[in-house]
């Protein structure tokens, strides 16, 4: 692949641009499917003849559920990569863990927001303490916000990688405990009473839901790839800055020697 890609001026590549276009197109198609092709959830009460159901609010299904699933995927990737950091200790695992955590946290925030917005017309409440999935997702969000906060601290990168990996793994291990304790608590769960079980998820609704997984899956994958590349660049930039500082100490007069030492060939820019 010759030409512009070799310069790598940013995090784009032919592959990722293709992925991006694919993601945009599928999201557009999903919107059409979700809003035009599928029907609202309208059911008729057997005895009173009244209409009931979620009506158009059901169209949130194609947004909220795929985001939730992808959020879990991202956090699992983070957990696996964190294990990799502890076992293999290479930069790749660390950058992957951080990238997956950040993407996962964004998705998690959206899951909470879309869930709340969906819940309002359907369950008549913005929030429900005691709903298992809501509470677990909220705590999961907080756990990873903490992870990201830890990541921002400026300690020795190797130590930080290990600490972050421990935090991620403990967070993921904590999830079943959180789930159990909330599930026992009050035993109320709107998620169960709902709607997902009652909805006729078949035919076009099912297809649209599956398509939603595909569309947002492509989006999430694009985000993960780019966030990984940004993370890789950050590490490389820090390493490079350190290399420059060290080399500058040794080569105080000759600029060419300095360039040779740090491998600078075609980027002619003034040394710091």
């Amino acid at each position: 692949m010759a030409g512009p890609d070799k310069r790598r001026d940013g995090t784009g590549s032919r592959g990722s641009r293709l992925l991006g276009v694919g993601a945009l197109v599928s999201v557009a198609a999903l919107i059409v499917l979700a809003f035009v092709a599928t029907d609202a959830d309208v059911r008729t009460h057997p005895t009173t003849g009244e209409e009931f159901g979620q009506f158009d609010a059901v169209r949130m299904l194609y947004l909220h559920v795929p985001l939730a699933v992808l959020m879990y995927v991202a956090f699992v990737v983070c957990a696996v990569a964190s294990a990799g950091v502890l076992l293999r200790r290479t930069a790749w695992w660390d950058v992957t863990a951080y990238a997956a955590a950040e993407v996962g946290t964004v998705l998690c925030g959206l899951v909470l927001v879309t869930g709340s917005i969906w819940g309002r017309p359907v369950w008549n409440t913005w929030w429900e303490w005691g709903d298992v999935r809501l509470m677990t997702t909220l705590v999961l969000f907080l756990l990873f916000v903490g992870y990201l906060a830890l990541r921002r601290t400026t300690t020795d990168p190797r130590l930080q990688a290990r600490r972050a990996a421990v935090v991620a793994l403990v967070a993921v291990l904590d999830i079943p405990l959180i789930n159990r304790s909330v599930a026992w608590w009050e035993n109320r769960t709107l998620h169960q009473q709902s709607t997902l079980a009652e909805l006729k998820i078949e035919d076009l609704t099912l297809f649209t839901l599956m398509f939603g997984f595909l569309a947002f899956g492509l989006v999430a994958w694009w985000l993960l790839v780019h966030r990984f590349r940004v993370g890789w660049l950050e590490q490389a930039a820090t390493d490079h800055d350190v290399a420059i500082a060290l080399a500058e100490r040794r080569f105080e007069t000759s600029a060419t020697d300095l360039d040779a030492a740090i491998g600078r060939r075609d980027n002619r820019e003034d040394p710091v």
Partner: protein, 52 residues
């Protein structure tokens, strides 16, 4: 369409946040890349690389 406000809010916020995050990533990448020698900008290009 019933509940139009909620739908617009939900889908709108999601698309805006995802799009904004994507844009942010592209910008970060463009800002970082010039600081790094070309052959170290990508993991697949990086020499031998596994720094712990």
């Amino acid at each position: 369409m019933t509940h139009a406000g909620y739908l617009v809010a939900g889908w709108g916020i999601s698309l805006v946040v995802l799009g904004g995050y994507a844009l942010g990533l592209v910008r970060r990448g463009r800002r970082l890349a010039p600081r790094v020698p070309v052959d170290r900008r990508r993991w697949i290009d990086s020499p031998g690389s596994d720094r712990g």
